[in-house]
């Protein structure tokens, strides 16, 4: 047993981190979000070229042939960067929806009873209804778009639409809906992890710089303890998510999503508190992390669903 990351895994992580730092740095991120969010097609293609979406496809299908742990490391980095878009749904549709693997297509996620993100830009719609899945394209997709009403989205990075009745629209059924739902939950949990780690970094940095009462606020225990709590949350969630990526066990994935949602939301809230008045402004990024974390908490596997899976596992 050696739970640490392998050399290759570290290199992969560094690679995607550098790509995002170069192509989706903070000014670019803010410009994208101020412009109403949505998917940047060019960067989407670059991520496709870097293998993000095809990572788990076998080499024979034009993929990279890696596993869930590698995908999780990539999504972790993406979570840090606040890159918007239906990343997990597109990754899962690679090999099914034409162009998804290459980053040419955007595959949005629709779940019964919840608003749909990035609908207007979607080339295909992955519809999840409990453990059943299907893909809508072409005329069916256009019909959904006609019926959909835009929502004033809480998350500036994610334009949302309300779709009246998904059940009315036929699509191509996908096998293994339960697996798709689990893996989507895991990849989303990985994004939450990156966000939680980023919030922690921002809080620690601010706490070390901002001075009050003649000392950096990080010298005060009340602030210190908030930061320590953030680290504990992030690290507990990290080991849960990484382990779930290795085992792909359904119960472990449910636990990972639950703890990662908690870490992302909790850390963003505490980061906001550490920033004081600054934290309440549009200028500070922390609200963006909080809003995205709330959005992701409601996707693939909610806390209530995850807790039921975990309860059913008890002897």
């Amino acid at each position: 047993m050696d739970f640490r990351l392998s050399e290759d895994q570290r290199a992969l992580r560094t690679g995607i981190r550098e790509l995002l730092a170069g192509r989706f740095a903070r000014d670019r991120m803010r410009a994208t979000l101020d412009g109403g969010g949505g998917v940047g097609r060019e960067l989407w293609r670059e991520l496709g070229a870097a293998g993000l979406f095809a990572l788990r496809l076998p080499g024979t299908a034009g993929g990279v042939g890696l596993g869930l742990p590698e995908s999780v490391l990539m999504f972790d980095e993406i979570g840090r960067s606040l890159l918007p878009g239906p990343l997990a749904a597109t990754e899962l549709a690679a090999g099914v929806v034409k162009g998804a693997a290459e980053g040419e297509a955007v595959v949005a996620l629709a779940e019964a009873g919840r608003p749909v993100g990035h609908l207007a830009q979607a080339d295909a719609l992955l519809v999840l209804d409990g453990d059943r899945a299907r893909v809508l394209t072409g005329g069916a997709l256009r019909q959904v778009l006609r019926e959909a009403r835009p929502v004033r989205s809480l998350d500036p990075g994610t334009p949302l639409w309300r779709v009246p009745d998904l059940a009315a629209h036929d699509g191509e059924p996908l096998p293994e809906g339960a697996r798709l739902r689990r893996e989507g939950a895991l990849l989303t949990a990985a994004e939450q992890l990156g966000s939680a780690a980023r919030s922690l970094e921002a809080a620690v940095q601010h706490a070390g710089e901002r001075e009050q009462f003649g000392a950096p606020i990080g010298a005060f225990q009340a602030v210190k303890h908030l930061c320590a709590g953030m680290l504990v949350r992030a690290e507990t969630a990290r080991t849960a998510v990484y382990a779930a990526a290795v085992t792909a066990d359904p119960v472990e994935i449910a636990g990972a999503k639950l703890l990662a949602d908690d870490a992302a939301v909790g850390n963003a809230r505490d980061c906001l508190q550490v920033h004081g008045g600054m934290g309440f402004t549009w200028e500070a990024d922390v609200h963006l992390h909080l809003k995205r974390a709330w959005l992701r908490s409601g996707q693939w596997l909610t806390a209530a669903d995850a807790e039921e899976v975990l309860a059913a596992d008890l002897a």
Binding site: M1, R4, A215, L231, A237, L310, A311, L314
Partner: protein, 385 residues
Amino acid sequence: MDLSYTDEEEEFRARLREWLASALPGLPGRPDPGDWPGRRAYDTGWQRLLYDAGYAGLHWPADAGGRGATPTQHLIFLEETERAGAPYVGANFVGLLHAGPTIAAEGTAAQRARWLPPVLRGDEVWCQGFSEPEAGSDLASLRTRAVRDGDDYVVSGQKIWTSHAEVADWCELLVRTDPAAPRHRGISWLAMRMDAPGVTVRPLRTLAGSTEFAEMFLDEVRVPVSHRVGEENDGWRVTMVTLSFERGTAFVGEVVACRRTLDALAAEARRSGRWDDAVLRRRLGRLNAEFRALWRLTQWNVSEAQSTGGVPGTGGSVFKLRYSHARQELYEAAAEVLGAGDALDLDREWVLDRLSSLSYTIAAGTSQIQRNIVAERILGLPKGR
């Protein structure tokens, strides 16, 4: 990220399992919690069995009489013994997990030869005399004095919260050997015989009704200078070694036990019909995520420790913080499973555990102190007040 065990590790597990299956049925029944001599005999008897089977001091270095096992093997040992329902270290806790490893790391050859084998065999029991009435979290402010007199130190002062003091043979004792030096500099680490003249132990009653720990009064107790581990006035550094062991892997087996308890709670809730309460059911589900994650966190820490030569790092503080709160949550949930009436009945399972769990956020460094450690040593936040 590799969570699989090597063939060698699996073989180790299989042999251990086999041995546990043969050894456990012959064990005597567990003594009453209030029966201290009985508890000592039971715990040291189990230690002797481990010794004879070659499982004593598994994670100790070979030249200290241990097996020099890898941290992963130690993890497997803790997991399997707990899973099999084997006795916990109990009265051997301080000797095996603190004092022993500290002497192995810092003691002279003569000290190792004198103290380590009896710990491994279960012949001698240790306790920890660190805390004082005026020095708890602020351990470095301790006042118990040791004055050199020929080949002895003459020790006077008072210790408190000394677990297992009633049945211990030896005490790892922190004393002030230089009152003029800065707080952290004038401390020494001594091994004191508990039956030395001048040692008085007065049991303290815990909120659980037991006498888990005691006050210890030291009145001109003579401790040979040769019983000092490490240099004079260098005891603080030695203490940090002790504490890193304390927080490192000391609680691992308990995580497995908590998962078993959680299963038992679910079974009880199903039996009594309380399982239909979605709020309770989901609460138990969340605890499942919690203890699974704590197990994974342990594997993570062990992997890290393996790469740094086996010394537990600050990851222990992260674990301890999360675990101590989770354990309290577990028994709060247990009270809800039992229901308002049964949760007041001390004879019902889990009710005493609920009381005991209250100590987890205090003993071995409070949660507040662990947060300071995490903030300053891991996150690098400025030292403050």
